[in-house]
Amino acid sequence: MPQEDGNIVEMHGITKRFPGVLANENVTFCVRSGEIHALLGENGAGKSTLMNILSGLYKPDEGEIFVKGKRIQIGSPRHAIEAGIGMVHQHFRLVENFSVAENITLGMSTPRFLLDMAAIEDEVLALSKEYGLQLDPKAQIWQLSVGEQQRVEIVKMLYRRADVLILDEPTAVLTPQETRELFATLERMKETGRSIIFITHKLEEVMQVADRVTVLRAGRVAATADKTDVTSRQLASLMVGKEYSPTLPGKTALETAPVLTLSDVTAYGDRGTVALDGVSLEVKAGEILGIAGVAGNGQRELTEVITGLRKTTSGTISLLGQDITNRTPLEVINSGVSFVPEDRYGTGMAPNLSLVDNVILKSYRTRIMCKGPFINYDAARRQTQGLVEQFQVKCAGIYSRARLLSGGNAQKLLLGREISSDPKLLIAAYPTRGLDIGAAEAIRSILINQRNQGIAILLISEDLEELMRLSDRIAIMYEGKIMGTLDRDEWDIERIGLLMAGVRDVQHEEALT
C-alpha cells in the first residue's frame, strides 16, 4: 500500500459487515499529523463503525490499518491506546459512581497494584490546567454536567498520551457556547502536534473547525477534500446524495385555548436532586411547542410528570382545564395524552413481543379490542395491518418481533400507535434521534400533519435546526427551569444558545423592567 508522508493514520480498504448490514465498504481514510479531520455523514453512514474499528472495539472483515507508517492489528481497545489512538464516544465511557481521577486512571497499567489517589489527582489537575479544561479530580462523575463529563473524557485521552483523538459527535450534547470552547481546546491540541478526528453530521461545524473532511455515505467514502476546496452546498449533496427540501409546509397557528398548562411544577430526579424547578408552560391546540436544551436539564422529568410516570412535589398540570396533576399514567392516557418516549425500545415497546402485541399496548383495554376478559386478536391484527400500511412500516410480517424493526420503522409504528388514539396532546421526546434522513423526514412530516389537524404537540429535541423548522414557539430549559419562551420572530440560534447555557436574556429582561 502506498504510504504518504505526514499521515499518522491510514486505513485502507476497510470493510465491516453486521448481520444484514454492510456498515463499511472498502473505505480508505487517512489522517495527517497535526490536523483536524472531519468525518462527515448522515446517521447510519458508517462513521462510528469506522472509528470503532480504529479504536479497537470492532475488528474489520477486510482491510488494513497503518499507524505511524507501521501496519498494525488493532484487536482490542488496549492495542489502540498503546498505538496512541483515543476515542471519546458519543455516549461517554465513564463510570458514574467513580471520581474523575479514578475514571482517568482506569485501565492504565501503572502503578500496578497500590493506588495513590492523591498523586493521580495532582497529575490530573496539572494536565487539565495545561489545556484549560477545568476539572475537580475528586468529583464523582454523576455530579458533573454533560460538558464537564466530556472534559473528563478528553483529559482521559490526554493522560494516555494519545496522538490521535477521535471525537464522536462531540457537540450534540453541548450548548453553542460550550461548542465554541471545545473548538478552542481542539485548536490548542492541534498546536501541540496531535491529530483530531471529528465525527459529525453538521456542516457548519466542518466549515468552522476542520482542516480536511472525509464524507461517508451509505458506508462508502463519497469524497475527501481540503476544507478550502469545497463549499457547504457541495458537502451537503455529497453527504445526502440528493437535495432535500429544507422547509416543511405548515400553516400559522391559530389563537386557540391552551390544551396543556403547567404552572410552577417542581419535581425531584432519580438521584433525589431537584430536576424540575418551577416550570410553567402552555401548549395550544394546533401548535408545536419545542423544548430546547442540553439533554439532562429536566426534559425527561418534564415528560414524566405530565404523563404521570413521576410525581410532582408542587405545582399543577392541567389538560383542557381539567387537573391531571399526579394522576396515574392510565388516567393521563385516558384523558387524551399520547407520548412518544425518548427510549423507543426501552420504554415505548416490548421488543420481544410481536408488532400486534405492541400496537395494542395502550388500546388493549378499549371496547373494540376485547371480548369480555379476552383480547380480540382479530381486531388487533386489523389495526396493526392498517398502521403498517398507513405509515409504510417495513417489517417481516405483523407477528414478527418488534426488536427486528429498524429504528425508523419502529418509530413510525410507535408514532402511528400514539396518533391512532386521537389524542388531544402528543408529547414527542427526541423523535428523530438516531434515524436516517429519510425516516427522520417522514417522522417530521407526520408531526406537522398532526399539528395542522389541531393537535397540541410538545416536541423535545436536541437538534436546534429541527426545532426551528418545526416549532411554532420554543421554550428553553436549563437546570430544570424554563429560561424563556420565544416566538418564531424572536428567536435566533445565538439567543437560544445563551438561554441553553443558563445565561438570562439580558435585553429581554431589561425590556420587561
Binding site: I72, H79, P329, A350, N352, I375
Partner: protein, 369 residues
C-alpha cells in the same frame, strides 16, 4: 488474555485457500433449532452423567438400563412416574406464571408445605364433612395458604423492591419448620409411636385415585392448571399485561399498567397452584401430614419451568420426564447408587439446554473469496 502491545503481522495469505469460515450472530434462531435443542441437550446430559458414573466406579450403561426399565418398562414404573409428575406439574405451572413476569418465585417448596399444612388442618379439624365438601374445602385452604405464603415473599418486592429470590427462598425454610412444629407438636399422632406424623385423615379427605393405582386427581388438576394458565396468558387482557410486564416493565408502566398490583395477584395465583400441589400430596398419597411433604418438588419445578420455556404443554411433557427421572433415581438406589444421580441429571440438563440455546444464536458461515 489480551496482548500487552500492539502487534505487527504479515498478511496471512495461504495459496489455494479460497474460502474463510466465520462465526456470526444470527438475528433470529430458526425454528428447527427449537426442536433439536432438547434432543441434543438430553444426549449431552446423559453423556455427562455417564462420565460421572464411570469416574465414581459404576457402569453407565447398566445404570441407565436399570433406570429406563424400572421407569418406563413396568406398569408400576409408569404409574409411579405419573404419581411423581403430579406435584411437579402443578408446582411448575405455579412458578412459571411468576417467571412470565420476571418474578423469581423460588418459594414453590414452601408454598407446597403451607398448602399441605392448611389442607391437613381442614381434614383434621372438620372430620365430619362429606367428601364433596371436604375435598373442595381442603383445596381452597391449600390454595389460600400457598397464595398467602407467596404473597409474603413478594409483598416486600412490590412495596420496597426487595429481592424476591431471597425472600421467597427464606420462607421455604420457615414453611418446612412450621410443618415440623405441628407434626412434632400439636398434631402428633400418639399412636404412631415416636414418628412425627399426624393422625390419618378421615376417608372423606382422601383424594380419589384411578383404579387400584396410586395415581390421584392431582394429575388432572395439574393438566387443567397448565391449560388454564396457557389460555390466560395467550388470550386474555390480564395475561397480556403479565406478558408485557415480564418483557419490559418500563413499557408496562408507560402504558398505564399497575405493576405492583400485578406482582401481588400473580404471586397469589402462583402460590395457590403450588399450595394445591401440597394438598394433593397429603390428600392423594400419604393421607396424613408428615415432616417431609416434598422431596424438593418445588425446586425441581423451577428447572421444569425453565426447560419448558414456561410453555404449558412443554411443562406437561417435562414434568412427566422428570417424574420418570425421580422414579429412576429411587430404582437405582437398590444397587447402591445414590438417588442424587436424578437431581444431577435434572440440573445438568438445564444448563446443557442453556448452553445449546446460546450456541444456537450463532451460525457458521463459509465465505468464498
Amino acid at each position: 488474555m489480551s496482548e500487552p502491545t500492539a502487534t505487527c503481522e504479515k498478511k496471512d495469505t495461504v495459496p489455494g485457500r479460497s474460502f474463510r469460515i466465520r462465526i456470526e450472530k444470527r438475528l433470529e434462531t430458526p425454528a428447527w433449532w427449537n426442536a433439536v435443542t432438547p434432543v441434543i441437550s438430553i444426549a449431552l446430559a446423559l453423556l455427562f452423567g455417564a462420565i460421572f458414573l464411570k469416574l465414581t466406579g459404576y457402569s453407565p450403561i447398566t445404570v441407565y438400563k436399570i433406570m429406563f426399565k424400572d421407569t418406563f418398562g413396568t406398569r408400576y414404573g409408569i404409574t409411579e412416574t405419573l404419581v411423581k409428575a403430579s406435584p411437579l406439574l402443578l408446582s411448575a405451572v405455579g412458578v412459571s406464571m411468576a417467571f412470565r413476569m420476571q418474578l423469581w418465585n423460588i418459594g414453590g417448596e414452601g408454598q407446597i408445605y403451607m398448602g399441605a399444612l392448611a389442607a391437613s388442618w381442614v381434614a383434621l379439624t372438620f372430620t365430619g364433612l362429606p367428601k364433596y365438601i371436604m375435598v373442595p374445602a381442603m383445596m381452597i385452604a391449600a390454595a389460600a395458604a400457598g397464595g398467602i405464603w407467596a404473597f409474603l415473599g413478594s409483598a416486600p418486592r412490590a412495596i420496597w423492591g426487595v429481592n424476591e429470590i431471597l425472600t421467597t427462598l427464606m420462607l421455604n425454610y420457615v414453611a418446612i419448620f412450621w410443618v415440623e412444629y405441628f407434626v412434632y407438636g400439636p398434631w402428633r399422632d400418639p399412636t404412631a409411636f415416636l414418628f412425627p406424623l399426624s393422625p390419618v385423615f378421615p376417608k372423606a379427605a382422601w383424594l380419589p385415585t384411578f383404579g387400584n393405582t396410586r395415581i390421584h386427581w392431582g394429575l388432572i388438576f395439574g393438566i387443567i392448571a397448565a391449560l388454564g394458565v396457557g389460555l390466560l396468558l395467550s388470550r386474555t387482557k390480564w395475561g397480556y399485561e403479565i406478558r408485557v410486564i415480564g418483557e419490559n416493565p418500563s413499557a408496562a408502566r408507560y402504558s398505564g399498567m399497575n405493576i405492583s398490583r400485578n406482582i401481588i395477584l400473580v404471586m397469589l395465583l402462583s402460590g395457590a397452584i403450588s399450595g394445591i400441589a401440597g394438598m394433593c400430596e397429603v390428600s392423594g398419597i400419604i393421607h396424613r401430614l408428615q415432616a417431609q411433604v416434598s422431596t424438593g418438588y418445588g425446586y425441581t419445578a423451577i428447572i421444569i419451568a425453565f426447560l419448558a420455556k414456561l410453555h404449558p404443554i412443554g411443562i406437561i411433557i417435562v414434568s412427566l420426564l422428570f417424574g420418570g427421572l425421580l422414579v429412576a433415581g429411587y430404582s437405582v438406589q437398590i444397587y447402591g447408587i445414590p438417588a442424587d444421580i436424578a437431581t444431577m441429571l435434572q440440573g445438568s440438563l438445564l444448563f446443557f439446554v442453556l448452553g445449546v440455546e446460546a450456541l444456537a444464536q450463532y451460525r457458521i458461515r463459509v465465505i468464498r473469496n
